[in-house]
Symmetry: none
Subunit: 236 residues, 2 copies
DNA sequence: GTGAACGTTCAGAAAACTCACAGACTCCGG
DNA sequence: CCGGAGTCTGTGAGTTTTCTGAACGTTCAC
């Protein structure tokens, strides 16, 4: 899955240092090259200098709002797609029109995996050259990101949004034990402040839908005191 | 769907920056090469310079109206088709006569998919070389853009204009989940400011007409918390 | 002008979802 | 075999989402 060299170059723009760091770090870890800016002015300069493939752009910036930044970018001939970060209650109002180009948006607070998934989706849509299939496969389990659908042995499995995100995270890390806090950090919104026991609940839900057959070896396995793994058959 | 190289070169002319941007962005994303101008003078210059295949032209411009622009274009030997943007209350007689050549018009406020569809229709009519079929097919569901007709298993289904546009948008994105705001942005007029619940209503209407057979697997499916998809059977 | 078709909005019911809590169960060391 | 930590799962409250029907407005044909 990982290619040689970075997947794409991203420009992250947010005035809150915490969020900017959070995003930069996890996007970098996800294989992207990342440059960041704290306001609209710097964002425009960075876009000029680095020619990113996509920008992650907070709509609320100290000097000018995200739409203005986008307009200025477009005016100077930059046509890379933008993923907007909006507050949840901005929806309906200002968000309209954000999805007309290749652009998209996620609402704050977001979950990290969600952002990565949306970035990949936008890039896939705008530069279809990279035949990233959008389908993740582990044994006879398939997860189709575009259709937002999961199949086991060809049979569709209905999952709730959270169940879907959790399974997606597990499938992206097959045969790797993931701790409950790791899972929490990736799948739940970044400001979630319940405790990790909810992961147990959702693992339980998932098992009921994914690991039904009592004869087949379970895909989702518990590592006591450590976390959970998605085990493939091949890998023993 | 995406070809190598742009589909055609368009000239967008509108004095309102928002509309100009909105059009440019979504047309560019639809695969066209776009240049734009804010008034008649610039439009004539741009036409001379870029030799577009079609112009999208607001009839109300600050310096001269769209018909004058067209006349001057024709006078200087430019015979590419024009898609006029007119206000809804423009008198019939002004608009009449627009559809006699290859030209066509849409009324403001328009929906983005409508404009794209009209542009494609005009280009198809004027340069029939491109064998764009104008018929979109998903399983046994056919949508004929030219005839403005929908058939399921050969049987014609009567749809209202909005139902037709909605189904069209779904059929252009089979097996891809579309959020309610995405749908709103593409199918409804750009200045629509109701909320997304109207999408739910129209999906409901569509289902009643398109997914009648309770035995057949439903084409239109809800992805709770995410949006709606048009599912094909083949896609497994 | 009148009726029919179409479009929009609203409101309520039903269904689904998220999450906390708590008791039951399992594993493991001693 | 016991106890405790860790894990699993049922229950239920609160919220969100979806669906539907009905009311109201607009447009169009006659």
């Amino acid at each position: 899955m990982k290619k040689t060299g970075p997947e794409a170059k991203l420009l992250v723009v947010d005035d809150e240092p915490n969020i900017r760091e959070l995003l930069s770090t996890s996007l970098r870890f996800a294989g992207f090259e990342v440059v960041s800016a704290a306001n609209g002015r710097d964002a425009l300069a960075a876009a000029e200098l680095h020619a990113p493939d996509l920008a992650v752009l907070d709509v609320m910036l100290p000097d000018m709002d995200g739409f203005t930044v986008t307009r200025k970018l477009r005016a100077s001939g930059k046509h890379f797609p933008v993923l907007f970060l909006t507050a949840k209650d901005d929806t309906e109002d200002k968000v309209t029109g954000l999805t007309v180009g290749g652009d998209d948006y996620v609402t704050k607070p977001f979950s990290l995996d969600e952002v990565v998934a949306r970035i990949r989706a936008v890039l896939r849509r705008t530069q279809p050259l990279l035949d990233d299939d959008a389908v993740i496969r582990v044994d006879d389990l398939e997860l189709d990101d575009d259709a937002h659908e999961v199949r086991r042995g060809g049979v569709v499995i209905e999952l709730s949004p959270t169940e879907f995100k959790l399974l997606r995270y597990l499938m992206l890390n097959p045969n790797r034990v993931l701790s409950k806090s790791q899972i929490l950090d990736h799948v739940w919104e970044y400001n979630f402040n319940g405790d990790a026991s909810i992961v147990e609940s959702y693992i339980s839900y998932l098992r009921r839908k994914v690991d039904i057959d009592p004869d087949a070896p379970a895909l989702i396995q518990t590592k006591r005191g450590v976390g959970y793994v998605l085990r493939t058959a091949e890998k023993r």
